[in-house]
Subunit: 241 residues, 2 copies
């Protein structure tokens, strides 16, 4: 085998490693999506057993987190990637960290579902949280899709939609405060609703983080502390014109 | 200059780069500590202007975050570190991300300080939050110290002390609920106290994260999802015996 064949062989193997790493992240994303779906189902349906399964399964998310992180470290050590390969590995490390924390937030929602059980007051608030949860599930799906296709335009949409989730969260908060003031005995119960809404809002933030790593990978620019307008005008549109 | 001199020269320069990177993290840590101190001072002292300065200065934390991250990426691309050098760079990337988010939490506390202003009811709750804040400031200081000295025993202490903060946070929560139930008009005000306490509790979690990166760097083991007992028994004591 001559040298050029060897390096071709190495590079093919390396590409395969990168591809496997990317696929693992999507598998982890799918698992986290399922955890969120079940946590919300448990909360809205008053299904304690379903909530308990979410809490019990969180270890799977953590295991994938550690496994992907180890794989990334091994690639950095053995392959010493540069340029876009290096950016991909760094984007994967950061995406995995956010997915792990989305898993934690799903677990928090599941814990609230267990604590609330079949509480029959405040059904109106449950409906509000369900609506917020539907938006957040949609956003997580879009963020993972933008990641899968490394699509910066879709990533920008995710960042924009996170703002809608923040507004919806504020709405839940206002209604919760009114509810508590009208019926102070409901305070402990409504606080659990508030914690669930807060966890969902944080998931939205983390979806936005993931979309920023997509932009970082594709454009080579760190946009974490950059306004949406600037990202759109100077980074995404600029390159397309 | 012969080859060995050259590589010696390179390696010295590389060591200097690693040292500069480590020092930047400590500078960022110092800035974040100051932000937290001012945010707590603003909250407890009802000092709106001080709170506004914290919010205004958060961009400095973000700028350091981006700058250190870029430096780490450059080191990975140019120096292609392996073994403990690689672990150091990865630990720095993760520590910086947590410090940036501690900065965000300090900003949240400052925002609550601005909103609460000189509200004169609930002084007892302010005292509770002040106590929690003092514990959290101490923990951040210890986490940065463990990082500066790459001291795994000190890092383990940080992880243990985070549990004390969680208990103190639960205490603030219980008192806040009692307060709201006794005087429902206080609900919006007490919720702002709760958000501040929550932000402080999250800072404690992030101090624990930083301590885990210290253990990762020194011991080469990812202990993020490992119990304190296991870390102490199998990773820290094991190696010292």
């Amino acid at each position: 085998m001559d040298q050029s064949n060897l390096s071709h062989h190495y590079s093919q193997q390396f590409n395969q490693e990168l591809e496997e790493m990317r696929t693992s992240v999507l598998a982890m994303g799918g698992l986290v999506e399922a955890q969120l779906e079940h946590a919300l189902g448990a909360l809205v349906g008053g299904d304690v057993a379903r909530g308990e399964r979410v809490v019990a399964n969180d270890y799977q998310v953590n295991a994938l987190d550690v496994q992907i992180d180890e794989r990334c470290t091994a690639i950095l050590a053995r392959r010493q990637p540069t340029a876009s390969d290096l950016r991909l590995v760094l984007a994967v490390i950061k995406t995995t960290a956010d997915l792990e924390r989305i898993g934690d937030e799903a677990k928090r929602v599941a814990r609230m579902a267990i604590r609330l059980g079949t509480a029959d007051h405040g059904r109106g608030l449950f409906l509000e949280v369900e609506h917020l949860g539907t938006l957040v599930r949609g956003l997580l799906n879009k963020a993972l899709d933008a990641y899968a296709r490394m699509d910066v335009v879709a990533a920008l949409e995710v960042a924009k939609e996170d703002q809608r989730i923040d507004r919806e969260y504020e709405n839940v908060m206002r209604q919760s405060i009114t509810y508590m003031m009208e019926d102070p005995r409901s305070i402990p119960f409504v606080l659990d609703i508030i914690w669930s809404a807060r966890a969902l809002e944080r998931i939205g933030d983390r979806c936005r983080n993931i979309s920023e790593y997509v932009i970082y990978f594709v454009k080579g620019k760190d946009v974490r502390h950059t306004s949406l307008d600037t990202i759109e005008r100077e980074i995404i549109r600029h390159d397309r014109s």
